[in-house]
């Protein structure tokens, strides 16, 4: 367990960062919190020739509310920044709670939101709740910037649409019509566990009827997925226990989990059934929690 040799750069500006990424191409990797990449380099899974650190890009470490836009989360915000953000605690406690249930305090202190998203691990805890809330991301490269839905970021396990010269700079949770959201992480212990499955929902409830529902699931497929059939099923229906249970069954049917050391595919599918129901119940009754 020892880091292989690599060259290290810490550019002063976003533009220089993108230029450096372009110059080094495939042999470069971005270093943000480092909680994932350093471990992978130590165990020999990755050996990039160049690490480009974002640590001098102070502007990317912020959580603000921008009127007309939404909650803007800089990509370098740490998980604990999410946990402790008053803005998030007030508006989307579900996001703070999702961050709070991740990993361990040491990792939450240094790991970043951008890293968690760009790493594109199927079991990551932040993508489901951010997708359910319709979050967008901004990618900045040498040729300009682009904004897209977070759910379009992922193309496979540890694969994204991010180009070699691009970095993710911010995540925006747009102002919501939804009345409640919730994320349930099912881990095998209460701290320091990866999600066996992670279920996020956002619902818009109007007088006993669900006008819109979004369900996003982690560790259920090669990328975080939307349970679109279940969402469609819920739309316009009157809330009942049976309705939510049926939505769970449908969402479970839409998932394509794998078997690994944390759980079999069969177990994961059943957990998705149960936890989708519970997450919906919570979001409907308790708001953004």
């Amino acid at each position: 367990m020892y880091l292989p040799d690599f060259d290290y750069y810490a550019p002063d500006s976003l533009a220089e960062t993108c230029e450096a990424l372009e110059r080094f191409g495939a042999k470069a990797k971005v270093l943000s919190g480092g909680t994932d990449i350093i471990a992978k380099m130590k165990s020999g899974l990755l050996s990039p020739g160049v690490l480009i650190s974002l640590k001098k890009l102070e502007d990317l470490k912020k959580i603000d509310y921008v009127s007309g836009k939404g909650v803007v989360i800089g990509a370098l915000s740490t998980h604990n920044d999410l946990v402790n953000s008053k803005i998030l605690n007030d508006k989307y406690l579900s996001v703070s709670e999702a961050a709070h249930n991740m990993a361990s305090n040491q990792i939450r202190n240094i790991g970043t939101v951008g890293g968690n998203l760009c790493n594109a691990v199927p079991s990551a805890d932040l993508p489901p709740i951010l997708i359910a809330l319709g979050a967008t991301i901004k990618l900045v490269g040498t040729k300009g910037e682009r904004v897209m839905l977070l759910e379009d970021l992922f193309t496979g396990p540890m694969k994204t649409v991010i180009a070699e010269n691009e970095i993710l700079t911010e995540i925006v949770i747009p102002d919501q019509l939804s009345t409640g959201s919730n994320y349930i992480k099912f881990g095998l212990r209460r701290s320091g566990a990866l999600a066996v499955v992670g279920i996020a929902v956002a619902v818009t409830v109007n007088g006993g009827t669900i006008t819109e529902a979004k369900i996003a699931i982690g560790a259920a497929a090669p990328t975080p997925i939307r349970a679109r059939e279940a969402e469609k099923f819920l739309q316009g229906k009157t809330i009942s226990d049976d309705l939510l249970a049926e939505a769970g069954v449908i969402a479970s049917g839409e998932s394509k989990p794998i078997s690994d050391i944390r759980g079999s595919a069969e177990y994961r599918r059943d957990l998705i059934r149960v936890l989708t129901r519970r997450a919906l119940h919570k979001a409907i009754n308790e708001g953004h929690v």
Binding site: M1, Y267, L271
Partner: protein
């Protein structure tokens, strides 16, 4: 503990607490010496392969590399810790036997160069078919892990006591159950490290060890050195739990590297390498058959086990005997058959882990006993009370039991947990379970045959009497023996704990002791320290009698004050005054103590294993909440009631119960070392190997019952391992009570509980 004692029975501050809490304490991996080199071992990437060639030339050329060694550079003498099966070489000669087997080593100017050098060693292998499944290791035509052991049988035990056939014929009810354990690893917080210094024919090793004595013996043997020329020093150690009892490649390779380079060499394992070196708990496959009478009284038991030993023996011979031997302790029965086969596989070697050999069989037996109780309609507490071991009895396999308050433990656990109110009255999803445990207070015989005393101790009082130093070979690896032994020495001397110093676990300066294993030190090392303290007191009272002009028999010393027993108003003098006077007139004030175990046990094969001067007993009750949909197990509360004799330091004692229980909690629900189909560990790190976190710990109530053990100094006996033994069975029984499902393999994972509930709902499985 009686109020008459001044020092023992009290919560004194831990003697090394300040150093540890402030980070001043130095562990083996913290030590630095001038010109020190760093050493690393190259290990096998294959579970089973022939070594065709090893080319070290490229590694040798790398700047900063000072030595590269393979089997050609080290003695070919096989070593091990169980003398019956010395089967390890410092480096593999002809073939490698598991992923992680030792092939070569380097010594370099820094750690980074070591890793680069290891990559430059070219080893050509011919991969062989591997044995990864213990149950097929004995098959005709299975690959042979060691040529010397046909059908991969490492240890085979067949013991028969009483008349089992007759007992079964007379039984009202017979039940057979089958359970499977799992591989777990001790996961001490401190990784193994050693600094070896071989200079002028003398070898000194600072090592994170549980036993300097065994290291000294085996290292001297391996290198053909006199024991007096091998010095083993234990710095602070961050936990062992059985995994640091035997010398490793670190000490052997480090020594040779130091000899070749003439410089100190620090060798160390990282977390992955610790998992690969292993010596953790064996996975045991356990079939139990028990016959009982109408009242649930056990008439006879047949335990039929197979265990996966991994590629080498380690302590596995003893583990195998312990697995069945200790089953006779908590419940009285007169007919017992124990069959056991430990097989070799191409996986890391298993050894001794907290509760050595006992916890998995105990999980099986406690689950099995609950099944029997249910079949007969007897309350689980009641069936245990009916069978509970009584004091002053002898087990069917010849272990003499003196003190035993198991009945009182069961009654108290039932009372404080509210068993009688809760049993049968808890809502669905909530359950309560019970189990018992017992453990040796020190193994009755050493690991290799010898006639040395178990422990010896020495006390030197400083010349002006203001301090006394206890010299003991006993090994504090975090459990607190340095503190407890200083309390015992001070009590025996009539002195103060605050003035005690200790020098421990250094083979050159401290008297012999076998070390920290089998929960032996409070009783055994404590006996030697008590005797040394009493010898000091006798001498101090003798000199005091001349100063005070009173007969020595009329004098006593308590907390450093010497007084007349018959004349409370007579002028007292201090220990310091008397000690100083002693030095002036007679020279150094020294006390010596030695402890031998009396001859124990029967004469049958394997009779020595699990003998002990005394046995602890305990009862555990736990309450769990099960998520009926996900199978999630929440252990809400645990009540542990121990009979561990008299108590030297209550806070340390309860700390041991919490620690042992913590390990039991982990092994019960979470921990398992997993392998892929090539024998590679899938979870060799603390992210993948699921130790419980602080948030996962239940509320723990640790309580005691009054007990006095005649074989122990001041009536003490074991506590450090006993509390691990009942836990897995206890939780399994609570899960059964909650949901009516019986999990027949460890760990009791959420998914297994979920699956068992599902199968029960679907009517697939009868319990």
């Amino acid at each position: 503990m009686s109020k008459d004692y001044a020092v023992i029975g009290k919560n004194v501050p831990k003697i090394d607490g300040r150093e540890k809490a402030t980070g001043a304490a130095k562990y083996a991996g913290d030590l630095k010496f001038p010109n020190m080199l760093f050493g690393k071992i190259l290990t096998s990437p294959h579970a089973h392969a022939k070594i065709l060639s090893i080319d070290t030339s490229e590694a040798e050329k790398l700047p900063g590399v000072k030595a590269v060694i393979t089997h050609k550079d080290v003695p070919a003498l096989k070593y091990g810790i169980s003398p019956a099966r010395w089967d390890e070489n410092i480096f593999c000669i002809d073939k490698v036997r598991f992923v992680g087997d030792k092939v070569a080593a380097v010594a370099c100017i820094d750690e980074e160069t070591c890793y680069k050098a290891l990559k430059l060693i070219k080893v050509e292998y011919e991969v062989l078919p591997a044995v990864l499944d213990a149950l097929h290791a004995m098959d005709e035509g299975a690959p042979q892990v060691h040529d010397e052991y046909p059908r991969n049988i490492n240890t085979e035990i067949h013991q028969n006591f009483g008349d089992l056939d007759k007992a079964m014929a007379e039984a009202h009810y017979i039940r057979k159950d089958y359970f499977v354990g799992q591989r777990t690893y001790q996961s001490p917080i401190e990784p193994h490290s050693a600094v070896s210094i071989w200079k002028d024919n003398k070898l000194t090793i600072y090592s994170s060890t549980q036993s300097p004595h065994y290291f000294q013996y085996y290292i001297a043997r391996e290198f053909g050195l006199k024991m007096g020329d091998v010095r083993i020093i234990k710095p602070f150690v961050g936990g062992g739990f059985g995994g640091k009892l035997e010398p490793t490649g670190l000490e052997f390779a480090g020594s040779v590297l130091s000899k070749l380079t003439g410089r100190p060499v620090r060798t160390f394992y990282d977390r992955h390498e610790m998992f690969a070196h292993n010596r953790g708990r064996h996975k045991v496959y356990m079939e139990l058959t028990t016959g009982v009478d109408k009242e649930g009284k056990i008439l006879g038991v047949h335990a039929n086990f197979v265990s996966d030993g991994g590629a080498y023996t380690s302590l596995g011979v003893a583990t195998s005997y312990y697995a069945g031997g200790l089953l006779t302790l908590t419940y009285e029965f007169e007919n017992y058959k124990f069959d056991m086969i430990r097989v070799y596989t191409n996986l890391p070697a298993c050894g001794a882990q907290r509760g050595h050999g006992a916890p998995q069989p105990k999980y099986a037996f406690e689950s099995h006993l609950d099944n029997i109780a249910k079949d007969l309609g007897i309350d689980p507490l009641e069936i245990r009370l009916r069978n509970a071991r009584q004091p002053n009895t002898v087990t069917i396999n010849d272990f003499g039991i003196n003190s035993c308050e198991l009945t009182a433990c069961l009654e108290k656990a039932a009372d404080i947990s509210g068993w009688r109110e809760k049993k049968g009255n808890l809502p669905k999803g909530r359950g309560i379970g019970i189990a018992t445990g017992s453990f040796v207070s020190g193994a009755g015989y050493p690991i290799y045959r010898n006639d040395l005393p178990q422990s010896a101790a020495m006390i030197k009082v400083h010349e002006d009497g203001t301090a006394a130093t206890l010299y003991t070979g006993a090994v504090d690896i975090g459990q607190g023996s340095d503190t407890a032994l200083c309390q015992m020495a001070a009590e025996a001397m009539g002195y103060r704990y605050e003035n005690m110093k200790i020098i421990a676990a250094d083979t050159e300066t401290t008297p012999h002791d076998f070390g920290a294993y089998s929960s032996r030190q409070t009783l055994m090392s404590g006996s030697a320290c008590k005797q040394a303290g009493e010898e000091i007191k006798k001498q101090i009272l003798d000199i005091a009698s001349t100063i005070m002009s009173l007969p020595p028999d009329d004098l006593d010393c308590r907390l450093g004050i010497i007084f007349s027993k018959s004349r409370p108003t007579a002028k007292t003098i201090t220990f310091e005054e008397a000690a100083r006077r002693f030095f002036v007139l007679r020279g150094p004030l020294l006390g010596r103590g030695v402890y031998h175990v009396p001859r124990l046990g029967g004469t049958f094969k394997g009779a020595a294993v699990a003998t002990s001067p005394a046995y602890s007993f305990c009862a555990q009750i736990s309450e769990v909440q099960i998520d009926e949909e996900t199978g999630e197990v929440d252990v809400c509360e645990v009540w542990d009631v121990h009979d561990c004799g008299q108590v030297i330091n209550p806070m340390q004692l309860h700390g041991q119960v919490h620690g042992a229980l913590y390990m039991g909690v982990g092994e019960a629900i979470w921990e398992e070392v997993l392998f892929d189909d090539q024998g590679k560990i899938l979870n060799p790190n603390l992210g993948g190997y699921m130790l419980p976190t602080a948030l996962d710990m239940p509320i723990v109530h640790s309580e005691l019952v009054e007990s006095y053990e005649p074989a122990g100094p001041w009536g003490v006996k074991e506590v450090g391992e006993g509390a691990t033994n009942p836990t897995m069975g206890c939780f399994n029984n609570a899960i059964y009570d909650a949901m009516g499902v019986r999990i027949d393999s460890l760990p009791l994972t959420y998914e297994k509980v979920w699956r068992a509930m599902k199968e029960k709902r679907e009517g697939k499985k009868e319990v």
